[in-house]
């Protein structure tokens, strides 16, 4: 069976962590991912860029709205995701607006952290 692990951390704390703690954490992540791959359980994983680089798209009835920042509606829950390749943010926003989910909820657009 497939499961999604969603990793939530305090961004500000992560960004202001001392160098040593941060590199220790990076080492721990790498080891964890390695272990998961070795076990055969790993299918995919990605680190995301922070919420300051997120954009949220809603498109009810064709009235597009694009807001800076991550999703923030308490009445909505994460229902799915698409990992896409786009030339730039504008291209990604274009796909977000087309997602049928945009008409009924919100699509948060988050760039993936490239190593």
């Amino acid at each position: 069976m497939q499961y999604l692990l969603l990793i939530y951390t305090n961004e500000k704390a992560m960004l202001s962590a001392p160098k040593e703690a941060a590199s220790q954490m990076m080492g721990a992540y790498a080891a964890y991912t390695e272990a998961m791959k070795n076990s055969g359980a790993w299918l995919a994983s990605n680190r995301l860029r922070p919420t300051t680089e997120a954009t949220t798209v809603r498109n009810p009835d064709g009235r597009k709205s694009v807001l800076n920042g991550p999703f923030a509606e308490t009445k909505e829950q994460l229902a799915g995701f698409y990992l896409i390749e786009a030339p730039d943010l504008d291209g990604a926003l274009s796909w977000a607006a087309r997602c049928p989910g945009a008409a009924h909820g919100s699509i948060e657009v988050r760039p993936v952290w490239t190593v």
């Binding site: 069976m1 497939q2 499961y3 999604l4 692990l5 969603l6 990793i7 939530y8 951390t9 305090n10 961004e11 954490m25 721990a28 992540y29 964890y32 991912t33 272990a35 998961m36 055969g40 359980a41 790993w42 299918l43 995919a44 994983s45 990605n46 680190r47 995301l48 922070p50 919420t51 991550p70 999703f71 909505e76 829950q77 994460l78 229902a79 799915g80 995701f81 698409y82 990992l83 896409i84 390749e85 786009a86 990604a92 796909w95 977000a96 087309r98 997602c99 049928p100 989910g101 009924h104 909820g105 919100s106 699509i107 948060e108 657009v109 988050r110 760039p111 993936v112 952290w113 490239t114």
Partner: protein
Amino acid sequence: MQVLLLMYQDEKAMQKLPREEYGKLHGAFMAYVDALKKARALVGNHGLRPTSEARTVRKDAVLDGPFAETKEQLAGYFLLEVPDMEAALGWAKRHPSAPYGAVEVRPVWT
């Protein structure tokens, strides 16, 4: 560049959609994925089972339900193939961020 589109919906409202509406929506999602594939833009996509089936790991505790704190933000994800929820929770507890943040475990629609 790779970008993650996170789709948020009102689960309760979606569950109440009349069958015909739902059918159309489903068709629209299929067409959307198709379009992404034809544009060579799709790297992966997954629908998630509802939050009632989610579990969240914090430090060592396992809580029923999805992540629900305002002080933490989504930083990343892992998609895994394991026999059951127990195994998934096992991986969640091992994640280096579990002691400092939270790891939500959500079954994926296959």
